[in-house]
Symmetry: C2
Subunit: 203 residues, 2 copies
DNA sequence: TGTTATGTACACCGCCCTGTGTGCTTACCG
DNA sequence: CGGTAAGCACACAGGGCGGTGTACATAACA
């Protein structure tokens, strides 16, 4: 929040209204959902006048789409780029999204918007495909027989855990991780399930 | 729609406004979602005056809750009560919800309402638990080592397939069924994965 | 037949929503 | 220092929403 005040507003100067708006979007859309968050409230939290908001984003739809685009780094890269884990461990680490994330916002957006043509829905699709692809890449790296299939399966598990966590209000990711372990072990042909690619890491 | 015109309205007589309202709810809440369906439109489709609707249901919330309560028989009982299948086949048959169902309405309601205290959200939780319980029962019947765990796992797969189908606009149930087959075979200890309980069925 | 529950037609309220118009202030940067 | 873009405050339009009030019609049953 400190660095936001000087961040590039998209043009060249200014005091970072755009970033504050997107920050408030992250917070409110997550906590309350998209439809239940009005632009008035959002602008109040962002400490931005409504006029300014509509000068940065042509409408709420565009804001929602941009809000979704600001996510991947935290989860996606944060897991797949770890070099201290074997590929197999990286696949399992994708299920270690412990308490904070209430629901994958892409699922929420797709359900709330209820319009496959909406830019945000399209981006949600792209993102889900990208996650499955990265999982497939890692699966290939781990030596899976059919990496695409395993990637798609693991992606389904993540979405299932997210949805179920939301509906039941209990953490379903451990269950998903257990399934994932079974699938991974079944998909990797040799006994090379672990430390077959591990290099010296610590010390 | 023909029988609805004479069905018991809940009291004793009348021309079935309540049933028409619930029928319209099924249609519209599914097609458009809950929040995007106004009472005006709903009453128009149900061919019911708005005044009548609010005499049957104290508010939209109650209508939504009642709408969710009218579902299980079609899917839940329709699968688990089949006697022509082995327990294992019944577990897999739960993934044969082919094209019609766009999204499990319980997930949709939980996301759209965004309020765990809402009666509909509570019922959604109950329903999900009930499904998991029935899956666990069938898993026990099939001889699974840990039926509760398998039931929970299969329920997660179903939800994952539903969510993923919704977001990606492609049928994810085959993938879920493949995972289910693996889990089931892994969970049943002996080689008695099939026809160990099957009786003579056809001819 | 007449009473009563049931349903209808239609206007209406207050609220919140997305989105604008207008005029003013501030901060940056040459 | 001055120009200019960024941002602000405030009021307002237009519409959909959930929900209601009132007066009238009809079907069922006594």
């Amino acid at each position: 929040m400190t660095e936001l005040e000087k961040g590039p507003t998209g043009r060249r100067r200014g005091r970072g209204a755009r970033e504050r708006i997107l920050g408030a979007s992250q917070q409110l859309f997550r906590e309350q959902g998209i439809n239940r968050t009005g632009m008035d409230q959002l602008c109040a939290v962002a400490e931005v006048s409504k006029r300014t908001a509509y000068q940065h984003f042509t409408g709420k739809d565009e804001l929602v789409a941009e809000y979704l685009r600001r996510f991947d780094p935290s989860v996606l890269s944060g897991v797949f780029d770890r070099t201290d884990l074997t590929p197999r461990e990286r696949l399992l680490a994708a299920f270690d999204i412990p308490p904070t994330t209430p629901l994958c916002p892409y699922i929420g957006a797709a359900v709330e918007l209820n319009d496959p043509q909406h830019p945000a829905s399209q981006y949600a699709r792209d993102y889900k495909k990208a996650v499955a692809a990265r999982l497939a890449d890692t699966a290939r790296e781990a030596g899976a027989a059919d990496p695409e299939q395993l990637g798609e399966q693991l992606a389904l598990l993540i979405d299932g855990a997210a949805a179920r966590t939301r509906v039941l209000n209990t953490d379903a990711f451990p269950t998903a991780a257990a399934i994932a372990a079974v699938l991974i072990d079944n998909a990797i042909p040799a006994t090379a399930s672990d430390d077959h690619r591990r290099e010296e890491v610590s010390s």
